[in-house]
Symmetry: C2
Subunit: 473 residues, 2 copies
């Protein structure tokens, strides 16, 4: 009898698929991801068959086409590419060597957006600093004509010391700071947490009216070598970068929807970014996020879960070196943003999910706690104030509640922005768990009678109101 009831319950499930309770829906989503996840398969295609996806590369446009085809095959609607002009930066020859007091070839990657060196490279003495304050203290007399090395090491998530958030500004603003004191080039110890002679790239920025310096990241070992040699005397380095920036080229955000059954005009956005750096295959960053999003959408369709509100998946273009996708989305959908009830991004890798960070109005945690409660079983019900993602960050100006998927991040910066960010680093089970976590919260946000309270307008956004666009970061 019990068995027959259970059997009935299982097979009757599609009959009440329209609006199961939150725990029922979560159980079905999690079970589906355990048994039928396609997240890894999607990620495998994106990384192995398409490859890296730098803005301006044919691979990124292949990915744009493939993602649309996948969404259609998986039964989503309103699948489309929203065109976005993106920068085209191309890595060229990259050479760096210590030429005195000994000769060493160094392992490096130009930072994304860097200008090239003069043809034939440049040779100069190195001056090392760990912070901008130290650079300022040295002053122009010590820096003019030199190559500045930012030698600060970063620590692994959870360890004491400067993490990515602290050191990333050395990479984004280091060329400008060095140029202001008359340096001729800049190097940075890679922002990474493993030491296998593996340089980490990433975006750097220039400022109008300040000389543009060639800027590259060295493997941790090579930064340490220069540090040790500097203890004994002057160190001279030859740097040659052949990178170049061409005119903007067209790319696109890929959009797909699961229309709402009651309030189709209200939108829960879930996003990740489709582009990557041109090293490795962007498996964790952010192929995994794309797989989370794409397989969340497929799962909801496969389970016949029709949400009260519309769920819109957006695979953004050009997160890495321009954020043009996120900005375009904001501009293009300005009139809809009041009806965006939440935006979730996943851009922290395909590791085991831990929960979500959130930026919303006061009291949002009450509803969020209810929505993530079924994720306790897979350890993904943690909530932390503060969270979102780069692509959805412009939506703060429209007071959209922002959320970010949090994952176990100890090893993320071992591979981040390197040749080693490849599929083998992603565990299929962990990727499916992340997908389940994203899908459960997405369903909850789209289905629950209530929506999250909207955050107050941030002071900087209030100030910027009326401007069409913030300056490039």
């Amino acid at each position: 009898m019990t068995v027959r009831l259970l059997t009935l319950a299982i097979f009757a499930a599609p009959l009440f698929a329209q609006a199961p309770g939150p725990r029922d829906a979560a159980a079905r989503i999690i079970g589906h991801q355990v048994v039928e996840s396609r997240a890894f398969e999607k990620l495998r295609h994106l990384t192995d068959r398409i490859g890296h996806r730098l803005s301006g590369s044919p691979q990124l446009e292949q990915a744009v086409a493939w993602a649309q085809a996948e969404f259609r095959r998986d039964g989503l609607t309103n699948v489309r590419a929203e065109e976005v002009q993106v920068p085209k930066w191309v890595r060229g020859v990259e050479r760096c060597e210590i030429v005195a007091p000994a000769n060493h070839r160094l392992a490096l990657l130009a930072l994304g957006g860097s200008v090239p060196t003069p043809a034939g490279g440049l040779t100069a003495e190195v001056v090392e600093v760990r912070t901008f304050e130290e650079l300022e203290r040295l002053g122009e007399a010590a820096v003019r004509g030199k190559i500045v090395l930012y030698g600060q090491a970063m620590v692994r998530s959870g360890e004491d010391g400067p993490g990515y958030g602290t050191v990333a500004s050395l990479r984004t603003r280091g060329a400008v700071a060095a140029a202001k004191l008359g340096a001729v080039g800049a190097l940075i110890r890679s922002l990474g947490t493993a030491s296998f002679r593996l340089p980490h790239t990433g975006a750097t920025h220039y400022e109008e009216g300040v000389a543009q310096l060639p800027f590259a990241a060295l493997a941790a070992e090579d930064a340490e070598l220069i540090h040790r040699l500097l203890e004994q005397g002057p160190v001279k380095v030859r740097l040659e970068l052949g990178c170049s920036t061409g005119p903007d080229v067209p790319s696109a955000n890929v959009v797909a929807e699961l229309p709402g059954r009651e309030k189709p005009e209200e939108i829960v956005l879930i996003g990740a970014h489709l582009d990557s750096w041109d090293v490795g295959t962007g498996a964790h960053d952010d192929g995994a996020g794309c797989a989370h999003v794409m397989d969340t959408m497929r799962t909801l369709v496969a389970l016949g879960l029709k949400p009260r509100r519309t769920i819109r998946a957006v695979l953004f273009t050009n997160e890495e070196n321009g954020l043009r996708g996120g900005r375009d989305y904001f501009e293009r959908h300005k009139d809809e943003l009041e009806r965006h009830v939440a935006a979730l991004e996943t851009d922290s890798g395909g590791f085991r999910p831990q929960g979500f960070g959130w930026t919303a109005g006061e009291g949002a945690d009450r509803l969020l706690r209810e929505l993530v409660a079924p994720l306790r079983a897979i350890g993904a019900d943690g909530l932390r104030v503060g969270g979102g993602g780069a692509d959805i960050s412009p939506l703060a100006r429209a007071r959209v509640p922002l959320l970010g998927l949090r994952v176990e991040g100890t090893r993320y910066f071992d591979y981040h922005h390197t040749e080693a960010d490849t599929l083998d680093k992603v565990d299929p089970t962990e990727l499916a768990q992340g997908t389940a976590a994203l899908a459960v919260l997405t369903w909850g946000l789209a289905e629950h009678a209530e929506t999250l309270p909207r955050p107050p307008l941030r002071a900087e956004d209030a100030e910027a109101q009326g401007q069409r666009r913030r300056p490039e970061r």
Copy 2:
């Protein structure tokens, strides 16, 4: 009174320095290495200021000159360079990419000794095997015209599965085996235990009368990528290697002695190899061994320890791609080898010492246990049957007892033969402990009234007797 006696004992130490008891000597050696070790300083110069030391490179000859100067400065006698002709293999352009079904640049290193590809490279389908048996089963029909990929993964020391000893033959003999079945090139999954897109080089060999195939090692990730793509269909690779082998050039074994006070004609040899691959700086392989040996010699001089027998340090040349140094030593010192009472090599890295492996006559462990007993305090008193080292291996033919320093090897093959074998991977304290362990056993072997029983002649050596030289391995 007690204090005064102690003071007297400490300051009187040099008075009975001629022949302290084994525990006294060990205590002084270990204490000296804790407080006054110069091992790391020597290694730092060798790696940071000289750099990698491939046979035929100017850096190796710089190292030969530097090591002699160091030995002289440290008070050793009979310091000399014994000239040895070594091969000059030079790495050239190295490119490998998957060209179908997708495009991927691969991370690779040509294997040492490899021939180049035809100019412009070669493009062929890949056939993957994990063992020579699998290759044989596939047979010529499946292999002719293809590039053979040896895809076997190796495991970390202490883990279950094929270790370096098992997979190394794929690297040394893989080109020959593939050529015999008509392959046009060969690739191997790097023999290594970490996965950070880091290829591992190493020597490979050819056989007279068999076509010489270009042979390179891929990063583990790239071998796995090919494996995954092969699950879905054919994979085509383009390989271009520009390496070349020139005529032999002169190099040298560096020799230094601490003459015996009673039996100067009896010799305890301690050795390491001064050459390295041309990637990284050979910090663990075998800069650390050179530092062990050099600082053992300096320590004994500094402590005024004059051994009963002569201790001879030999820094061998060309261990990595020829073993010419070890072979030359055997030939040049043939008449002395009967009086070599032991030969110790350190070529397993600068990690925490665990003890020694030994190859000697029956009962040798009794004396060895006595000699290593004082090393229990630093956990370096382990003894294991079987041991020696590549450079001293020819001495087996003269029945010299052979020993090898054993170290904690879990991470050795993370870095072995890669760009990441750099000074930062060596812990100064562990390096000093290794030096202490080597010095204590060296002193014991040179000082003890007894010597180790000599091992019986191995069958293969008995057979080879009369030959001047074994064929190149």
